[in-house]
């Protein structure tokens, strides 16, 4: 299975120590669903790069020349997810107060980093690691942008924009993306709750459809309503949902 470059989560590394940057880049290179798009060695350079490159996730050292990591956030036009990395435990409370996703105390290695990346996945995608179920609920109604699908030992990010429709198959969900189908262990109810309701509509007990991929809703001879998708798929709409859609159309 191939993965488009832009489906990965873009990451910027900010640290004044070259070895710390190289080490983090090395660890992130082992994670197939993130893409490191740059490094900054001081606070001022970091502000410029975050505003220009608009990464989704920033690993941010706190003690840096130029501008402290915690001060830097005030200068951002683009607000990424922030994970602080520091040897100082005493900044943790302040860091979470200003909305840090996580706080990595140096020294840290790949295992601690993996726990942080689980949190990142929880914020921008589904499914969650079991330990993060409650964390995911606490994140509130913000819709997710990706689903993370297992492929062998890899985790593949699937942007929700590309999903035409989602089908419940037993305990699994089948994501239909172009010609490909990904299987995901998740309930349709849970996923529905975390998708953007303006675009993803539950049209059936077992189907969610992406309105961006629907060419038409058509009434059939038998009186039932169907959704016709761009790829030619025709999906049945349940009677109760058909009524809701009719109300929408008015």
């Amino acid at each position: 299975m191939t993965m488009s470059e832009d489906a990965r989560v873009s990451v910027l590394i900010v640290d004044d120590e070259p070895v710390a940057r190289a080490g983090l880049r090395h660890m992130l290179a082992e994670v197939d669903w993130v893409a490191c798009i740059g490094e900054a060695g001081n606070g001022l350079a970091a502000v410029e790069m975050i505003n220009r490159l608009r990464p989704e996730l920033v690993f941010l050292d706190i003690q840096m020349p130029g501008l402290l990591g915690t001060e830097l956030l005030a200068h951002l036009l683009h607000r990424p997810l922030v994970v602080f990395t520091t040897a100082h435990a005493e900044h943790a409370v302040a860091a979470f107060e200003i909305g840090a996703l996580d706080y990595l105390l140096k020294p840290f290695g790949p295992e601690r980093l993996a726990a942080t990346l689980d949190r990142v996945r929880a914020v921008i995608g589904e499914p969650l690691a079991p330990a993060l179920e409650r964390f995911g609920e606490a994140l509130g109604p913000g819709p997710i942008s990706r689903l993370f699908v297992r492929s062998g030992r890899a985790i593949v990010p699937v942007p929700v924009d590309g999903i035409a429709w989602i089908e419940a198959v037993g305990d699994y969900l089948a994501l239909h993306v172009g010609a490909a189908t990904h299987l995901l262990s998740l309930s349709l109810n849970r996923l529905e709750a975390r998708l953007d309701p303006q675009r993803f509509v539950r049209i059936h007990r077992t189907h969610i459809v992406n309105l961006d991929h629907v060419t038409a809703f058509r009434r059939q001879d038998g009186g039932g309503l169907v959704a016709e998708l761009r790829d030619g798929t025709v999906l049945a709409v349940s009677r109760s949902k058909a009524q809701e859609l009719r109300n929408w159309a008015r």
Binding site: A20, L105, P107
Partner: protein, 346 residues
């Protein structure tokens, strides 16, 4: 450590006990040499003890202001010789003043003659100053023992501050997959630093050992800071055998790394120099970082510098100098000059 926990009134008790035998001695002296009856000799001796003791308070103050120099200085002897002469004359005049008041007219009773009188005054001076310095020495020994105990912990804290130790450990962890050999080297350097920090018991160490320690420290900071830290050194080979307080140079270098290199985006150059100049070990650490107000550093500095200054005061009396100055065009220069003791206190 000082007498803070003793009620103030009790401070006078040993002073009175100390003067009591002197009073008895003088009474007996007046009785036997001048054939005075004890009824006259005792009050006379008491009056003279009183004036000597009152003026002695000033001598005591002087011993506080003028610490015993290490190494010994002739200047110290000269100052005390002058003060002793001054004390003797003042004592003589003070006694005369009291006699004059008692008799209601000017009286200057020179007793056995001016010279023996003044010699007795000098004798008092030496006794009071001697007791003062003996006290200082006992206090100093206690203080050094305490400072030593504290400086071990402090040295640990100084070198093992989270900003250094945890970052150094992080560097090692990050190097493991990227550059295993480098990781091993860095671990060895770090272990060497920790070992010295934990095991160093000596108050004074040869510059050679201190410099080796500082180089290990700089090697680790060099990995962390990369191109942002440039270190140049000018260590005179003749100075390597000189003694300095353990971790003294380390304190200065660490200070420069923390306050000059760490906050600077641009590379910072440290120039570390040591030379032997007229029996003094002169150390200097100069940086081209943002700099600081030297006057403010003289008044109060961070814990590292403050502790260094305390140790210098106790180890060298007033003979060691720690000076701050601005480094052109910007940055700070710290100079430390230490007198070299004769190499027999090993």
């Amino acid at each position: 450590m000082r007498l803070n926990d003793v009620p103030r009134a009790w401070v006078w008790v040993p002073l009175l006990i100390g003067w009591l035998p002197v009073w008895v001695l003088f009474t007996v002296l007046f009785m036997s040499v001048h054939q005075e009856p004890w009824q006259r000799a005792a009050p006379l001796a008491l009056r003279q003890m009183f004036t000597a003791a009152l003026l002695g308070l000033l001598v005591h103050r002087l011993t506080l202001r003028l610490p015993w120099p290490h190494p010994f200085r002739l200047r110290f002897v000269a100052i005390h010789a002058l003060c002793a002469a001054g004390y003797a004359v003042a004592w003589l005049l003070f006694n005369g003043l009291i006699d004059s008041i008692r008799h209601g007219r000017p009286v200057l009773n020179l007793g056995p003659g001016a010279v023996p009188y003044l010699i007795t005054g000098v004798w008092f001076y030496v006794m009071i100053a001697g007791v003062g310095y003996a006290n200082r020495t006992a206090e100093r020994a206690a203080q050094i023992a305490m400072l030593e105990a504290r400086s071990q912990l402090a040295a640990l804290r100084m070198q093992l501050q989270p900003h250094f130790l945890f970052n150094a450990l992080h560097t090692v962890v990050q190097l493991i997959p990227i550059d295993p050999r480098g990781a091993v080297r860095a671990t060895e350097q770090l272990a060497g630093l920790l070992r010295t920090t934990i095991e160093e018991q000596r108050d004074l160490v040869p510059l050679q050992a201190e410099w080796a320690f500082v180089q290990r420290y700089l090697a680790i900071e060099g990995i962390r800071f990369g191109e942002r830290l440039v270190v140049r050194s000018d260590i005179d080979a003749a100075a390597l055998a000189c003694k300095l307080p353990s971790f003294a140079l380390q304190t200065l270098v660490e200070n420069a790394v923390r306050h000059a290199a760490a906050p600077s985006v641009e590379p910072t150059t440290l120039l570390i120099a040591a030379r032997l100049d007229g029996g003094q070990l002169c150390l200097s650490v100069a940086d081209d970082g943002p700099g600081a107000d030297p006057a403010q550093l003289e008044r109060g500095a961070g814990t590292g510098l403050r502790r260094l200054r305390e140790r210098l005061a106790w180890l060298y009396g007033g003979s060691a100098r720690l000076q701050f100055s601005s480094n052109a065009p910007h940055g700070l220069m710290v100079e430390l000059s230490l007198p070299q003791l004769a190499d027999d206190d090993e």
